[in-house]
Amino acid sequence: MRVIAVWSIKGGVGKTTAAVNLAALAAREGARALLWDLDPQGGASFLLRVSPRRKASPRRLARRSVELRRMVRATDVPNLDLLPSDLTYRTLELELNARKSPSRRLAVKLTPLDGHYDWVVLDCAPSVTLVSEAVLHAADDLLVPVIPSALSLRTLEQTRRFIAQTRSKAVRVLPFLSMVDRRRRLHREGCERFAGGAEGFLRTIVPMSSIVERAAEARLPLFAVAPSSRATRAFASLWQEVREQSASPTD
């Protein structure tokens, strides 16, 4: 089981889009995948049309004795399960805080799922909180979408520093260019600067595309809406890279 967190301090950079589509791509290949929506906005849960089970709650989620498996729901994408979220999950922070070693809690909760899932993808809220710290302890890889702008690059630096401060063992940071609009000079420059994987960036560039909006409207993964569009192919190649970077969980 490999845990990939899609993570950024910055909002609206394409985290949820990447999380949903990468998890769906993993599932489509025949792996068992779990997407964990950790954002009370519930973007991933919305895109997959799943709301939390009635008996699920942030309190139970934080409790050590309650198995995550019991809160999981199957999505309409074969092999893909989801741990959904909604606004009530804003209290997860408080619930974690009320327990022992809160920053390790998510990692602890995930342990029993090993052997059941090949990939766990965490969709995180854009903030620096206890939950995001707990994510750092749970994840093997941190996938960071970066829109090529001065501000975004600064947050990437902040992200790296935050990780250095909080993290005991090394988590791999994998930034990639997201929502790139080649008509913009800054974006073109960003692409040149990070082309070919410079400064630890993944090579794939995810373009700005109306297909993404369309897929969000249809509440489907990109490949189900426009199988051969540029954006779909970009996510497929991003997934390929992520998979190659992670030691393959299957052998």
């Binding site: 025949g30 068992r32 799943v50 709301s51 999981v72 729901r73 199957a74 299957t250 052998d251």
Partner: protein, 519 residues
């Protein structure tokens, strides 16, 4: 009947309908559970895959290949987990052809070297009927399936993780429909029956249920019949070379038969059996080389992983050569198994097994099998102990060979008559025997492989193209095999100590029944 006896797919249930049921009626029946979406009709070819000896089915799982519109997907239903599906291109024969991920990971240890074969095929028209919630999320699935040339409908429901309540509700609504009942027989069983197969119908084990009081002659006949069935069952697969286990099982059946004839002389008439003994020896010899090469080929890949990378790479010509030799040897094997000599033998042997001439006209043949079997096993065990003790802790190579054969004979006797002796009575002996046999068997395989290596070495040497690095690497491999062999040699003393331990001796002495036969 509420349990779904036929199908063991855990989160799936299959319902059968005698009468046709239009999908619209199905949709109407499910309406109270939510919005119902009926998918378009799809032509589907479903193939159940399993090894010849039903390993997938035996694990409690199902592996299904579905083809529709030129696309193939594999569906793996493990016994205890939710199903997983993956697209596949090309044919899937061995575990290594399975898509990387959970399907291969789960099935590789189950299948090992066995090939996946189509055990049953079904052509279907399928519609997916989904029950949706307010967000148009699927909360329950029903596959409406009509078999080609058949009006009866099957409905498969799948309970989705996290939507158990909706799934159960849908299932109940379906059961309430007129003329719907849980499917009695699984589709796999029905489809397999068309090929004359039944799940679990083959196993290389001798799983006979002998009664302790059955006359020994009749018990021996049952054993031999069972072995003849196994032998025959494996011929086609061995000739077609579907996987290496067909030949393996065939050879084991031959060896067991020979052992039975040799060991049970007080029960079976040795004179009447003499011509068959000769034919069985021929068959043993005819099938030997190909099997040895199979074992070497299966092992060599493992050896290469343990050697230094450049040594492993330099061994490629050896691997190629073995491949070539094996192909040649298989051609000869196939010719033998297709020969008139072979078919004639099988025919005569079958007739002989049914005849009165099989059993000896002795008192022993009429005694209860339990006491006769115990007596034979006790003597075989004693023989083994005597021979081993006479040779000391590190027997010479020839001694190891003899011991291996003795151990095999003992093992076969135990397997033949385990049911009559009571499985628990024989257990300690079987366990220790397995351990010592592993050591003796590995020692022997390594011996055969070293001889083969020398032979190939000589051949490659006369081939002008062979590089010195290859010959050197083979030298290294040979040294490696020798070290291994030495380890097994070394292990023998320890294994023998456990095998001849008091507890095992006691278990053996008690085999005939407590107090009945003091030896």
């Amino acid at each position: 009947m509420t349990s779904d006896t036929g199908d063991r797919e855990t989160n799936r249930r299959v319902l059968a309908l005698e009468a046709p049921l239009p999908p619209e009626r199905l949709a109407a029946a499910l309406q109270p559970e939510g919005e119902v979406a009926v998918g378009r009709a799809v032509q589907l070819q479903r193939t159940y895959l399993d090894s010849f000896d039903w390993r997938v089915w035996g694990s409690g799982g199902r592996l299904v290949l579905e083809e529709s519109g030129g696309r193939q997907s594999l569906h793996w239903h493990p016994g205890a987990m939710s199903p997983v599906t993956a697209p596949v291109a090309g044919t899937v024969r061995f575990a290594s052809d399975l898509p990387a991920g959970p399907i291969r990971r789960d099935l590789a240890p189950i299948l090992e070297m066995r090939a996946l074969l189509p055990m049953g095929r079904v052509a279907l028209r399928q519609r997916l009927v989904r029950v949706l919630d307010g967000q148009r999320k699927t909360v329950a699935l029903v596959w409406w399936e009509e078999r080609s040339g058949c009006t009866a409908i099957r409905l498969r429901t799948e309970v989705l993780t996290g939507y158990e309540r909706a799934g159960e509700a849908v299932h109940r609504r379906l059961l309430a429909l007129e003329s719907v009942t849980p499917a009695g027989e699984s589709e796999l069983a029905l489809a397999a029956a068309e090929h004359g197969r039944r799940p679990g119908d083959y196993s290389s084990r001798i799983d006979l249920e002998l009664k302790p009081e059955t006359p020994a002659g009749e018990a021996a006949r049952a054993v031999l019949r069972r072995l003849a069935d196994t032998l025959r069952a494996n011929v086609d697969g061995a000739v077609e070379d579907l996987d290496t286990e067909f030949l393996h099982d065939l050879r084991v059946a031959v060896r067991r038969t020979r052992a039975a004839l040799g060991q049970l002389k007080a029960v079976l008439d040795p004179e009447a059996a003499a011509p068959y003994v000769e034919e069985l020896r021929w068959l043993g010899n005819a099938t030997g080389p190909c099997r040895d090469l199979d074992v070497f080929q299966l092992n060599v890949e493992g050896y290469r992983k343990e050697l230094a990378p450049d040594t492993a790479a330099a061994l490629q010509p050896l691997a190629d050569r073995l491949h070539h030799m094996r192909a040649q040897s298989h051609r000869e094997l196939a010719a033998d198994l297709r020969s008139r000599r072979f078919s004639g033998f099988i025919k005569r042997w079958d007739a002989f097994l049914d005849s009165d001439r099989l059993c000896a006209d002795t008192a022993t043949a009429t005694l209860p099998v339990r006491s006769v079997a115990a007596d034979h096993i006790q003597r075989a065990y004693g023989r083994f102990l005597n021979r081993a003790q006479g040779m000391g802790p590190q027997p010479p190579a020839e001694g190891m060979h003899r011991l291996r054969i003795d151990a095999k004979k003992l093992r076969y006797l135990l397997e033949f008559f385990a049911s009559a002796l009571g499985k628990s009575a024989a257990r300690p002996l079987v366990r220790e025997l397995k351990a010592i046999q592993d050591t003796l068997g590995a020692y022997h395989d390594l011996h055969v492989q070293q001889l083969r290596l020398q032979e190939v070495g000589r051949e490659l040497l006369t081939d002008n193209g062979t590089g010195a690095d290859t010959l050197l690497a083979m030298g290294r491999l040979s040294a490696f095999l020798e070290t291994r062999q030495e380890q097994h040699h070394h292990d023998f003393a320890r294994r023998f100590a456990t095998f001849s331990d008091k507890s095992v001796r006691k278990a053996v002495a008690r085999l005939g029944g407590a107090g009945e036969r003091a030896r």
